[in-house]
Amino acid sequence: MTAYNVPSVGISADPIVVAEGLHKSFGDTRALRGLDLSVPRGTVCGVLGPNGAGKTTAVRILATLSDPDAGHARIAGYDVVRDAGKVRERIGLAGQYAAVDDKLTGRGNLRIFGRLYHLSRREAHRRADELLDRFGLMDDADRPVAGYSGGMRRRLDLITSLILRPDVLFLDEPTTGLDPRSRGEIWDSIRELVADGTTVLLTTQYLDEADHLADHIAVIDHGQAIATGTPDALKATIGDRLDVTLEDPAALPEAMTVLNTLAGTEPTTTDDDRLSVALPATGPRLADIVRELDHAGVAAADVSLRRPTLDEVFLRLTDRKEPVR
């Protein structure tokens, strides 16, 4: 498996979340096999990976819910196994499934959790109102959660983890299953938190989510980080993409040959008159490409160069050429 190690701006000497060589197995399933992770204070780290990559397993270890078989992890300098109590005072967790009580109202849920965080009754009530107000749930505060939409429930779950103003917030797939508008609302909430100085580690399967929110991305697959870096740096590792639209589909084979020679890899056809190819980082310039196509007698309606989407990066990186296990 190739490891891409992209130097990225913003990795300061002060990581607040550090994981080193985490291993975790469930029976025969090796969920984590040497995961390394480092999140600088005050940033958003997006952990990306396909189903079963080990994202939830990693979050559960970092949030003290599960012990690693090997390796260690520290939150704000405290070991997640030995100093679990200290870690718990500094983290918030919103898991993959909303952990709020359907039978209670939104306000009731927050007050109970405020009390469980050992706020005084008055302080718990005040903090509940403050959070409901700030995150737009005040109008529904006195309705039982059973009547909330999926997005509202998620938002309530998210703000429950904010009661103590945690230094580090773990969000496991915070927007899975939500419609675009609810996702946008959760994103806004997360941005606000970061503006307050909270460090956020979020897992997601949505690349645009990582692209929008994360300062820094770790792509994990088979329980290992296979690439880390800023979204831009990750996109740069696979080079720019060239999209060509032909005037006549009959010229497709010709165009394929030209692009193959220039890029050094086989182009993909995205339509019967469209091709797309990844260019090497030190690839040919646009002008050269246009000229070469011209020479070969290929009439192009459009030739454009663009950065790859994270989807393309992700698919490329997690492409399973060699079956693991």
Binding site: R60, A63, L93, G95, I112, L116, H118
Partner: protein, 272 residues
């Protein structure tokens, strides 16, 4: 919000957290009036069903009134419903990820089981009170005075609390609300296999052995004795029925000694 280090302050935290969670359970009940109505109607149905439907056909050993004989059995039945309710709640919370949130918080690890068992104790007292009222309505009475009567109810409460810890452990062990729901119907045959509704002498030997050693039987026998209700066993009876009060106390202690540590271990280790 730093966790206290002195054992006394720690105990204080555990108790306040437990109380907060009791409040949470009661808050849930408020939103579910249907459950309260069901809890109120259930004892009345049982008294009518057993007292009049079965009662017309069952002969009490020493010739007493069947409903006098029946009520201690029904009290025992209500007591033994404790572990089912707690088990279902614990399993549901484990399924829903609520348990993960609790475990990621700086909370006392005893608090969650304390909250569940505490809330069950309160609802149990309510159910017992309704059962007592239903009993008084159909002519049941304690005959031996205040102290033995109080002792009988105290025994029920002690055993109920111990049983609710069985529920905590089983709920954490199954970790799945559907499995827990499937276990609930087992409660009834377990209560029936006892002296609660019929004398055990008529049962085949092996069945009688099981029934005599069933803790439901010990509690029923102790209550009959302390209330002065008919049905006291005579002749060659099994040890738990000859010493029912001691038997109930021993059962309670044994359940607590086994299931409190098991539950705590399951709570801290679940999902690790």
């Amino acid at each position: 919000m730093t966790a206290p280090t002195s054992p006394l302050r720690r105990l204080g935290w555990t108790l306040t957290d437990g109380l907060t969670l009791v409040g949470r359970e009661l808050g849930r009940l408020r939103q579910e009036p249907g459950q309260i109505v069901a809890a109120l109607v259930f004892p009345i149905i049982m008294v009518v069903l057993f007292g009049y439907v079965f009662g017309s056909a069952i002969q009490v050993p020493d010739g007493g009134d069947y409903r006098e004989y029946l009520m201690p059995g029904l009290f025992a039945m209500v007591t033994f419903s404790a572990w089912l309710g707690v088990m279902t709640r614990m399993a549901t919370e484990a399924t829903r990820g609520v348990m993960d949130r609790f475990r990621s918080m700086p909370m006392a690890r005893l608090a969650v089981p304390l909250g569940q068992t505490g809330a069950d104790l309160l609802t149990g007292l309510l159910m017992l009170a309704i059962m007592v009222s239903a009993g008084l309505l159909v002519g049941w009475q304690p005959h031996r005075g205040l102290i033995p009567t109080a002792q009988a109810f105290l025994l029920m409460i002690v055993l109920r609390y111990a049983l609710s810890w069985v529920g905590v452990y089983v709920g954490l062990a199954v970790k799945n609300d559907q499995v827990a729901d499937a276990l609930v119907p087992l409660g009834l045959p377990f209560t029936m296999l006892s002296n609660a509704f019929v004398p055990t002498d008529g049962m085949p030997g092996w069945l009688r052995f099981l029934a005599d050693w069933n803790p439901v039987s010990a509690l029923t026998a102790a209550a009959r004795d302390l209330f002065g209700n008919p049905g006291a066993p005579s002749g060659n009876v099994a040890w738990p029925l000859a010493h029912p009060v001691t038997a109930v106390l021993l059962w309670s202690a044994a359940l607590l000694v086994i299931f409190v540590p098991l539950s705590l271990r399951a709570f801290t280790r679940s999902g690790r």
